[in-house]
């Protein structure tokens, strides 16, 4: 047996326990099964199509939201033109959530299952139930 | 090399465990602050910086003061400092680490600290202070590592390290200068907006740092049976004496300018510090204690006969350290906000959470110093 065998094993055990914290803490957590988000929307005339195809949105919505954020906050540019020439007001609560009104089904389902915690809703206000139609006017 | 810190007697381990205990308690208090926000501190909309930033400012000084041993040893080839240079460098590394932690615990959104690097603003002194501190940390890690491992092998350190060491000298001056610029460039705060702030920071650093190093050397002699000898300690005492004189001198300059010009915004802060404003005099006893300790320090240090006696020197160094810790920490930072920009007096008292978080960081710093010194001394012993 090598010198300090016991100490080495103990040290390794502590190290592994620390490094694997995310794994073993999740063992005791009930994780909701991964479900597809509910994309069902309120039908708003002229707004039956999302800003990007849903395949793309699934993968890149976070980047798009970051772009929108920077564009609105830092450059005061609020108009988003899609590739096929439609225009949207860049706003999470006034545009995205005006169609996809149910945050729990639309956002949280995946986020919870994937254990991601975007801080959007620390500040932005989720729509209560069915918001009054606001802010989606076409420019 | 690091494994040397893992061999120690019972007393050593008791010390390590108690420091770790304080760190854990501090960590728990920080968790509390992290969950509930900085409302658990004593800070307010008028006094937006408190104990944390005060400790940060003071410790930048301790870090910078390593230059007071590095400069004589490497630039003037003052051999007597051979045994303590590494102690100074390790002290600097620990102090900078504590500085970084004090900044992080003071942040409202610590997870966004990366924004400092993603969106740096060249006009902000805080960016340059970060750059200066990180650079200083790297320099000292590199220098202490290279010189120590050369010592272990019993060879002279490589030649390329010399220019790096020389670079660390102006760099040490720069960290404290830029830290002073954080404050002295603010038109809104007349108490800080003084050109003598950076020189005063340096003077107080070069007094408190060597004083701390003297105390550390004497402790090492007691608990680790490691004697650096009499000469370097006496030399450090002389350095601390001159620097303390400069510090007190600069302070009196400030008082004269404020009092003689009698500009109310400048005077109010000094009145608050030493006499209180209205019913508010939380800092008055502290500041007079600091002043009394400064006088005691000067009496003991200026007289060579007193200074030469080691038990009096211990008193002088402890008094000096405490005096500057009060004056430069809380006195300097908090008073910049009192009275506020609207002439209002809102006092600041650190909360229990703040005190324990600060203690936790201090414990971590002391733990680092202990481990580093353990390594350095073990290497020297096995080499001898």
């Amino acid at each position: 047996m090598p010198r300090d065998f016991n100490r080495i094993v103990l040290g390794l055990a502590v190290f592994l326990a620390l490094v694997l914290t995310p794994v073993w803490t999740n063992l005791f957590r009930s994780v909701p099964p991964l479900q597809d988000p509910e994309i069902a929307t309120r039908n708003i005339p002229g707004k039956d199509k999302c800003v990007l195809p849903s395949v793309e949105m699934k993968v890149t919505h976070m980047n798009l939201l970051n772009q929108w954020r920077d564009s609105v906050v830092r450059n005061d540019q609020r108009d988003y033109a899609t590739a096929d020439g439609r225009h949207f007001d860049m706003s999470l609560s006034r545009t995205c959530m005006n169609c996809h009104t149910d945050k729990a089904k639309f956002c949280d389902r995946c986020h919870n299952a994937l254990a991601v915690n975007p801080y959007c809703w620390d500040c932005h206000v989720e729509p209560l139930v069915q918001p009054a139609s606001m802010g989606t006017e076409v420019r | 090399m690091l494994e040397k810190a893992l061999y120690g007697d019972r007393k050593y381990w008791m010390w390590i465990i108690s420091l770790t205990g304080v760190m854990v308690i501090g960590g728990l208090f920080y968790l509390h602050q992290f969950r509930n926000g900085l409302t658990v501190t004593g800070m307010s909309r008028d006094v937006t910086w408190g104990l944390y930033i005060a400790q940060f400012t003071f410790l930048v000084g301790v870090a910078a003061s390593a230059v007071m041993v590095v400069l004589p040893y490497y630039l003037h080839n003052y051999k007597a400092f051979g045994k303590i240079t590494i102690l100074g460098e390790f002290l600097a590394i620990s102090a900078v680490t504590m500085c970084v932690l004090f900044i992080v615990v003071d942040m409202g959104q610590p997870f966004r600290v990366i924004n400092l690097f993603l969106h740096p603003s060249p006009r902000s002194m805080m960016l340059w202070d970060t750059v200066a501190l990180m650079g200083y940390l790297l320099l000292n890690v590199l220098i202490s590592r290279v010189t120590l491992s050369a010592e272990r092998k019993g060879i002279a350190p490589p030649h390329w390290i010399k220019p790096v060491i020389i670079l660390s000298i102006p760099w040490a001056i720069s960290i404290h200068t830029v830290t002073a610029f954080l404050y002295s460039g603010l038109a809104a705060r007349p108490f800080w907006m003084t050109a003598v702030l950076a020189p005063r920071f340096l003077a107080s650093a070069f007094a408190s740092g060597p004083a701390l190093l003297i105390l550390v050397c004497l402790i090492l002699r007691k608990v680790a049976k490691y004697d650096v000898g009499r000469e370097p300690i006496q030399k450090l005492a002389v350095i601390a004496t001159y620097a303390m004189c400069a510090n007190v001198f600069f302070f009196l300059m400030e008082v004269f300018t404020a009092a003689y010009s009698n500009i109310p915004e400048h005077m109010a802060h000094f009145e608050y510090l030493y006499f209180g404003l209205g019913n508010h005099h939380a800092l008055v006893p502290w500041m007079w204690t600091s002043a009394a300790l400064a006088v005691l320090t000067l009496i003991l240090l200026l007289n060579p006969k007193f200074r030469a006696k080691e038990n009096l020197l211990v008193v002088a160094c402890a008094a000096l350290f405490a005096s500057i810790w009060i004056d430069k920490g809380m006195g300097m930072v908090v008073t910049g906000f009192i009275p506020s920009t609207a002439g209002q007096v809102h006092e600041y008292f650190p909360s229990v959470t703040e005190i324990f978080v600060a203690l936790g960081i201090w414990a971590l710093g002391i733990l680092m110093v202990t481990a580093f010194y353990k390594i350095a001394l073990s290497l020297r012993r096995s080499a001898a």
């Binding site: 954020r69 620390d122 500040c123 | 909309r45 937006t48 409202g108 970060t130 038109a187 809104a188 002439g343």
Partner: protein, 253 residues
């Protein structure tokens, strides 16, 4: 053959150099904040105290602002949030105050807010450009996504116009206005001259709410604007102009 020690060394060095790339990139990209000389517009506010002080205890502008921007109502004055609030004349204009000043002015609470300075010290000190002076109209903006909560801007602002979220503001909001975000704990906030309303072609909510028409808002670079007319017809003062910040809120005494 590379030993463990060398491996650690090189790994550390490569990590460090990788980490410094974004910093160097950003610094070289010269995203330097622009000075006011580039501003095409400079928005400003004129507060007519003669009209404002006519109604005692009127807080319409403050209430409108608080509602529009989801500003929490925290009782403790030591850590509440203020975008527009009332400060006594002797505190707002410390350097103009003297003991023989007419009583009607001396102790009067007058509305104060962010001065949207021409040369804002808060912008200068912010380490992350989370606050900046907008080039096109001179508004001193705030990005709450980016603020790290260091509170350096609060130390630098001579007017106390910045508030820090010492705690979660939502616990102190009776009603949340869904059209505007709240803030999160740990960030600094302040008045933005209602940039979100301006971009929809509306006036700031305080201006709109004032029944006395004591608040006038407009572009100073337009010499036909209402604010310019007011400034050229009445004597106005600003808060602490000697500091060189160039405050853009003017008061008709």
């Amino acid at each position: 053959m590379m030993d463990r020690r060398d491996f650690m060394k090189y790994a550390g060095l490569s990590g460090l150099s990788l980490a410094s790339i974004p910093l160097l990139k950003k610094l070289s990209a010269a995203e330097l904040p622009q000075g006011s000389s580039h501003a095409t517009k400079q928005l400003a506010m004129v507060v007519n105290l003669r009209k404002c002080l006519e109604l005692d205890n009127c807080t319409k502008c403050i209430e409108a602002c608080n509602q529009t921007h989801n500003i929490p109502l925290i009782d403790n004055p030591d850590d509440n949030i203020r975008w527009i609030w009332k400060e006594r004349f002797d505190r707002a204009f410390e350097d103009q105050e003297h003991e023989h000043l007419t009583e009607s002015i001396r102790w009067s609470p007058l509305v104060v807010m962010c001065n949207h300075c021409e040369n804002p010290p808060c912008v200068r000190v912010c380490p992350t450009q989370a606050t900046w002076k907008r080039e096109k109209d001179g508004i001193v903006m705030m990005d709450w996504h980016r603020c790290i909560g260091c509170r350096y801007c609060m130390a630098a602002c001579p007017y106390g116009s910045r508030s820090f979220n010492w705690r979660d503001p939502r616990q102190h909001l009776a009603k949340i206005q869904p059209d505007y975000p709240t803030r999160t704990k740990g960030v600094v906030e302040k008045c933005t001259f209602c940039d979100e309303r301006l971009s929809r072609g509306q006036l700031p909510s305080c201006v709109e709410a004032c029944s006395e028409k004591a608040l006038t808002f407009g572009d100073l670079s337009d010499h036909k604007s209402e604010v310019r007319e007011l400034l050229s017809s009445a004597y106005t003062i600003r808060r602490k102009p000697s500091l060189g910040t160039g405050p853009q809120v003017y008061y008709i005494v």
